[in-house]
């Protein structure tokens, strides 16, 4: 099929989702009611907006992830050639992991991995 299959599948997803929504829109009887538009908070009117400064704890993990994910991408081409390159590749990867692990330990020491 080749790369065009990506477009085909993305289109199929859109067609499927949009189709389902359109079909449901045809069947559904819509009613309006001011309380329907309120956010669900266990039946109590919500206090303040959730769209404000949020605890940083969650984002720290995303930042550390970024480092590791980039590193993981470097590893893919390496992984393909391990068998051909042989021992050199093992030494290389040990050095690579060592450097990475230092960074990891630094983050750990800084308390970035401790959930607050």
């Amino acid at each position: 099929m080749g790369s065009s299959s990506l477009i085909v599948l993305a289109l199929a997803a859109i067609v499927f989702s949009a189709g389902a929504m359109i079909v449901s829109r045809i069947f559904v009887k819509r009613t309006t009611n001011p309380q329907k538009g309120e956010p669900y908070e266990c039946g109590i009117p919500t206090e303040g907006s959730p769209w404000k400064q949020f605890s940083v704890g969650y984002y720290l993990f995303a930042l550390i992830f970024l480092i590791f994910d980039v590193e993981l991408i470097f590893l893919y081409p390496w992984a393909v050639v391990v068998k051909r390159v042989g021992w050199t590749s093992l030494i290389e990867i040990i050095i690579f992991f060592f450097i990475l692990f230092m960074g990891f330990l630094y983050a750990h020491k800084k308390g970035a991995l401790k959930w607050m």
Binding site: G43, I44, T46, K52, Q53, S55, G57, K110, W115
Partner: protein
């Protein structure tokens, strides 16, 4: 730097948990202040099912008001009734015949098992394991069937009357209870396998919701909640009523002070209750199940206080009588109300997921709190 960022106040969220929330087991409404996932404050708002039972009882006779109390702590309705019946008996100085006493205690302990079993399932569901809930209900059904045969009802039994119990036992009672004892003995072990020794469950409950010995006393906690903090508070042992003084059972006391300790206390209590049932089931004395009482009860002028150990803790009934046909004032001291007051203290600094586990380990029944 990171710690500074994490403790800033600007990111605080105020969230309503309840009254319509899957894990408040009813209509408890908690307003919690969160920083990220960490709880800064928990404020209970009560009253969603407050029916003012205390006021209602003021216009009901001394026979009638007992039945209203079944609707308070509906999971140990029989024990609630027991407390009220004891209080009226104390006022009238009625001696319950031995058979009546044994039947009452038998039913109490079966109710306690049923309540703890349900609590076990509900706690498991609160920490995210859904399957135990179904297993719990399977065993609870067996108890409910036994109750149904004798009392005619499954949840609000209304089996107590001042002076004894309402009817005699059903002929099948002993046989069925024997069957249940055999069944339950193997099932309790199954519960342990399913949850008690689960690594995730232990991680979720150990060291969570600490309630120290002093705090447990100061917050007026009772029942398994207090006993998990090492407080000696089982009414059945301290101030024995009915035939409890002649029975062999242990008061379970743990020193863990955390959710896991509360869990362990209840698990062990189930076994103790089962042993009480075992001791009594073959030794039900013959004779009357109910003392002779007048048709219309009139308590003498004065104040009477009785207390019993429900599945959740100490249940107190305080009757102020003016000598009439109805109580002048009734106060029910419900265990859940005091236990709930400790929730804020226990939950501070924990995660939102822990709050749910702590509430589960407190075994809150909302009508018991709201009354």
């Amino acid at each position: 730097m990171i710690e500074e960022l994490m403790t800033t106040e600007q990111g605080d969220l105020v969230i309503n948990v309840g009254p319509q929330h899957p894990s408040t087991h009813g209509v408890l409404h908690l307003v919690i202040t969160l920083n990220g996932e960490t709880i800064k404050k928990v404020e209970p708002h009560l009253g969603y099912i407050h029916r003012s039972i205390e006021k209602m009882c003021e216009s009901l006779s001394f026979r009638q008001f007992i039945y209203v109390t079944s609707r308070m702590d509906y999971l140990s309705s029989h024990i609630n009734n027991h407390g009220c019946a004891l209080c009226v008996e104390k006022g009238l100085q009625i001696e319950v015949p031995p058979r009546g006493q044994v039947i009452r205690v038998l039913m109490d302990e079966l109710t306690r098992i049923a309540s703890h079993v349900l609590w076990w399932g509900a706690l498991a569901m609160d920490v995210g394991a859904i399957t135990p809930f179904f297993y719990a209900f399977r065993e609870r059904e067996a108890i409910n069937d036994i109750m149904e045969e004798t009392c005619g009802a499954r949840l609000t039994m209304n089996y107590m009357v001042p002076g004894g119990v309402m009817f005699d036992l059903h002929p099948n009672f002993q046989k069925k209870v024997h069957e249940f004892i055999q069944l339950f003995k193997s099932k309790v072990d199954e519960y342990d396998e399913l949850l008690t020794n689960n690594v995730i469950f232990k991680a979720r409950t150990r060291g969570i919701g600490m309630l120290s010995y002093e705090d447990a006393i100061s917050y007026g906690c009772s029942g398994p909640t207090a006993r998990a903090s090492g407080v000696h508070c089982d009414i059945r042992k301290l101030y024995p009523y009915e035939v409890y003084s002649g029975l062999q059972f242990e008061e379970i006391i743990e020193s863990g002070c955390d959710s896991y300790a509360r869990y362990v206390v209840r698990m062990k209590e189930m076994r103790q209750s089962l042993s009480i049932v075992e001791q009594l089931i073959d030794n039900i004395p013959e004779g009357d199940f109910q003392a002779k009482t007048k048709a219309v009860l009139k308590l003498p002028k004065g104040e009477f206080y009785s207390r019993v150990e429900t599945a959740r803790g100490e249940f107190g009934v305080y009757i102020v009588s003016e000598g009439g046909m109805t109580p002048y004032r009734i106060k029910f001291r419900s265990p859940g109300f005091s236990n709930l007051s400790a929730l804020d203290h226990m939950a501070r600094g924990q995660k939102i997921g822990d709050l749910v586990a702590i509430m589960g380990s407190l075994d809150l029944v909302i009508p018991d709190i709201d009354r």
